[in-house]
């Protein structure tokens, strides 16, 4: 591992942030279904979009790290595959939204698909990678959980890790709300015109 263990503060929080953003996105999707307000739809879509951006960054940084740690950028590790599938499912969310022109229908179908995509996160990144052998920590026969291998880290590192996660998550939430606010403002302008 050597110094690359410091990627713990950059590569790993990307996934924490992605997961948090997807949770917020699905909450807004459910809220939209119970109360069809386009504000909820905006927030749901933008949180999902930023979540995908963080997920893609997680994949790229993971590939760089893997290239120098495991010898290849992509070794078909169950966690790599699972994360890639989860991201593809979320990309299909935007394809679905883009293919519907009617706004109310777009928001409603988007919200329903969002719940499905969120449900698919559990097998792809939470359950299946833990049941198979993996190069990542936290697989069958390796120590720790997917985020942390206690043999590689020190208590001091864990002390830094927690604020790093919180910081990245807050950054992700802030960026998503900026996009959502812009979109709401745009809708308001076009309504008054």
């Amino acid at each position: 591992m050597q110094q690359t263990v410091r990627n713990l503060f950059f590569h790993v929080p990307m996934w924490f942030c992605m997961q948090t953003l997807f949770i917020i996105s699905v909450i807004y999707a459910v809220r939209y279904l119970s109360n069809p307000n386009s504000k909820y739809d905006c927030y749901s879509a933008e949180f999902a979009r930023t979540g995908v951006v963080f997920g893609v960054l997680g994949l790229i940084t993971g590939a760089i790290w893997a290239n120098y740690q495991w010898g290849a950028p992509w070794s078909g590790d169950p966690k790599q595959n699972g994360a890639a599938i989860a991201l593809l499912i979320y990309l299909a969310y935007f394809v679905l939204r883009g293919s519907i022109t009617d706004e109310a229908k777009q928001a409603r179908l988007g919200a329903v698909y969002n719940i499905f995509a969120f449900a698919m996160l559990f097998p792809t990144i939470w359950i299946l990678p833990r049941m198979t052998e993996s190069l990542h920590p936290g697989g069958r026969g390796s120590e720790g959980n997917p985020g942390l291998n206690p043999n590689d880290t020190t208590p001091e590192m864990e002390m830094v890790f927690l604020p790093a996660i919180i910081g990245w998550i807050l950054l992700g939430i802030w960026i998503s709300t900026l996009f959502a606010r812009l979109r709401l403002y745009k809708e308001k302008i076009y309504e008054t015109k």
Binding site: Q3, T4, R6, N7, M14, L57, I60, I64, I175, I189
Partner: protein, 85 residues
């Protein structure tokens, strides 16, 4: 208007030549093509100093990614500002 167009045309010509000059001057890089290819396994830059440059490249990738995303936001705001007038 004619004068302006003429100047613009001349500038474009100059610009093309500048771009070509810049491009060709980059050929000097080929001089270094074989440096460091020798014993790449022992003296790989990314593997040196406890692989700290792997961490650096990861940080740079995240920063570039987020910056691209935020520039995208900037573009959207600019478009909105233009449409408002």
């Amino acid at each position: 208007m004619h004068g302006y167009a003429c100047i613009k045309k001349k500038f474009m010509k100059l610009n093309k030549r500048n771009i070509l000059t810049t491009l060709f001057s980059l050929f000097i890089i080929t001089c270094f093509a074989q440096d460091g290819a020798v014993s790449a396994n022992d003296s790989n830059f990314m593997m040196s100093d406890g692989k700290i440059f792997v961490v650096m490249s990861v940080v740079v990738v995240i920063l570039i990614g987020l910056f691209i995303y935020l520039f995208n936001l900037d573009r959207k705001i600019t478009r909105l500002e233009k449409n408002k007038d």
